[in-house]
């Protein structure tokens, strides 16, 4: 969805002179059109993510809406304190764009795998975090947040094909149900939602009907809608290309606990730092049990163990 995201950003920039794009020397074959169209609003700041976010703070104070662009790890973790003390503290509309995320950069290894970006961003009050599940939702999210006053982190995945049932919907803080079933609920975020949907199809073949609901933002988050949904199912499975702690799994655990629900929770995601082994994105996801087959099996097993 990178290309669609940047294409939509170009449309936004054409309509809104406040939009500027800063890159930390990344975006080969992705940012060239934007650079050609808006040479005065495009800056390659060099391999310097901290300075990039600091500069975005100064630009935003003057009325710009700066998008800062890098691979998700470099966009979030390297300049984390600059994000905190800059746009978050100053309540400025800086957009941190992290491309990749999860296991997208498979072979490149752990330095390139953002497995804690949701966690570190959603813990900051005032930092809106958006992870579109597909390219149409990414486009919708850019347009819907055009005048959002505070900072936003966008996790922009590689995979962008349309998620069945989502139909390009995006509502900040909303929950999108893309499939319904009474036996279990699968709650997912980001493009790994494709595996969630496929898992629900596997489960249906085995006579288990699962709801699939997509979370696309934190701060605001869909806590209330989610509590209503989970009040009616005995089992929830969270699916995220992320560590199981701190992100979607933790969020859903908080919702269940705070609402006092009887719903059991399974959390799919990375449980340890995936170092020492390389592989494709699909391989790495399978290693963390994030493929549709593993997800379906975990739901089926948990339901079969119910008293």
């Amino acid at each position: 969805m990178r290309n669609e995201f940047v294409d939509e950003l170009g449309a936004l920039a054409a309509a809104d002179e406040r939009v500027v794009l800063l890159t930390g020397d990344l975006g080969f074959m992705v940012l060239e059109d934007f650079q050609r169209q808006f040479p005065d609003r495009f800056f390659n700041v060099g391999v310097a993510e901290q300075n990039m976010v600091g500069m975005a703070t100064g630009l935003a104070e003057a009325g710009f809406v700066p998008f800062v662009y890098s691979i998700a790890t470099f966009a979030t973790l390297r300049p984390y304190e600059f994000i905190r003390n800059g746009p978050i503290l100053h309540r400025l509309p800086v957009r941190v764009v992290g491309v990749g995320g999860g296991f997208d950069y498979g072979h490149n290894g752990i330095t390139h795998l953002a497995l804690e970006d949701y966690a570190v961003m959603r813990t900051q009050p005032g930092m809106t975090t958006i992870a579109p599940a597909d390219a149409p939702q990414a486009r919708a999210a850019i347009q819907a947040t055009r005048d959002h006053e505070g900072p936003i982190y966008f996790r922009v995945s590689k995979r962008g094909d349309a998620l069945p049932g989502l139909d390009g919907r995006f509502k900040l803080g909303g929950l999108d149900v893309v499939r319904t079933g009474d036996d279990a609920a699968i709650i997912s975020i980001g493009s790994i939602s494709h595996e969630a949907v496929a898992a629900a199809a596997f489960l249906a073949e085995r006579g288990i009907e699962a709801t699939v609901a997509v979370v696309s933002s934190f701060n605001p988050d869909p806590a209330e809608e989610l509590a209503e949904l989970l009040a009616n199912v005995p089992l929830a499975l969270t699916v995220e290309a992320h560590y199981v702690n701190g992100g979607l799994g933790s969020f859903v655990a908080e919702v269940i606990a705070e609402a006092g629900l009887a719903c059991r929770l399974l959390r799919a995601g990375a449980t340890s730092m995936p170092s020492g082994e390389t592989g494709t994105q699909a391989h790495m996801e399978r290693q963390s049990g994030l493929d549709a087959g593993s997800l379906a099996t975990s739901v089926q097993q948990a339901l079969s163990l119910r008293p």
């Binding site: 609003r41 500069m55 100064g58």
Partner: protein, 268 residues
């Protein structure tokens, strides 16, 4: 003397620094005294504070010296009445480091080294908007230890951000030791010049020299005033003493500090 007004302005800043540090019983006194003259030459009839969004911007990257900035804003009548007397009091907006919600503060700071990146972005913003506003930023020499400061130095130099004015408080010491003994910075002005800055080493308590350097015609590059300052300037027992980075004032030393400041004011 053409700069007499800003000298008196600096005297007032120093007085406030001592009085408020004593009342609040907090440290960072030496750092605030170190930049009193730098803040004075900027805020006394130089920085453009009117003009709304088109006003000049000021970034105190060495946020722990905020008391000197508060003192300047108070001297200009830009703090609410009596606010300066709440410095570090419970519920006050005037903390050790400047907070964004305080009127007159363009950017919050406190984490060392972040101010120059923000100022660079602010200067770039002015250029893209076609504004002639300037961005002033004050760094300590110890902040040059932070790697990202050099990222900003490279960007500003490469893009020739001539509306960016950096004042480096080169007092030669930092929290635990003297800067040459921690990480020797070498010739700071030469380093900045090599990155494309219009950089000059200037006596940091000489208002004529500072004013001349600030008002020189633009070289089409970002400007750096490498101000050779004395930590704790004006209070004899604080000058160049590492411990006065953190220590608060006792009653006895408060009286000594006031005597020293009176003597400094009298000799000019």
């Amino acid at each position: 003397m053409p700069s007499e007004g800003s000298v008196r302005f600096a005297d007032a800043i120093r007085r406030t620094v001592i009085v408020q540090s004593k009342r609040a019983y907090v440290g960072h006194i030496g750092s605030s005294l170190s930049i009193a003259d730098l803040v004075a030459v900027v805020f006394h009839e130089r920085i453009r504070l009117e003009g709304g969004a088109d006003r000049d911007r000021f970034v105190l990257s060495k946020g722990h010296a905020a008391l000197a900035l508060y003192a300047a804003l108070d001297e200009l009548g830009r703090l609410p009445d009596g606010a300066i007397d709440t410095y570090c009091a419970d519920g006050s907006q005037l903390g050790v480091h400047p907070e964004i919600d305080l009127e007159g503060i363009d950017f919050a700071s406190g984490s060392l080294g972040q101010g120059l990146s923000i100022a660079t972005g602010a200067a770039l913003a002015a250029r893209v908007q076609g504004s002639d506003r300037k961005v002033y930023v004050v760094l300590s020499d110890a902040e040059l230890n932070e790697g990202n400061v050099w990222e900003a130095i490279m960007f500003a130099g490469h893009h020739r951000l001539e509306n960016l004015v950096l004042l480096i408080d080169l007092n030669g010491q930092q929290a635990l030791d003297f800067t040459p003994d921690v990480l020797d910075l070498g010739d700071v002005a030469a380093k900045l010049a090599s990155f494309g800055w219009d950089a000059a080493a200037v006596p940091g308590h000489d208002h004529d020299a500072l004013g001349t350097a600030l008002d020189a015609p633009s070289a089409g590059k970002p400007r750096a005033i490498v101000a050779q300052t004395t930590f704790g300037y004006g209070v004899s027992y604080m000058e160049s003493e590492i411990k006065w980075h953190y220590l608060p004032l006792s009653d006895e030393l408060f009286a000594d500090a006031q005597r020293d400041l009176a003597a400094l004011e009298a000799q000019r």
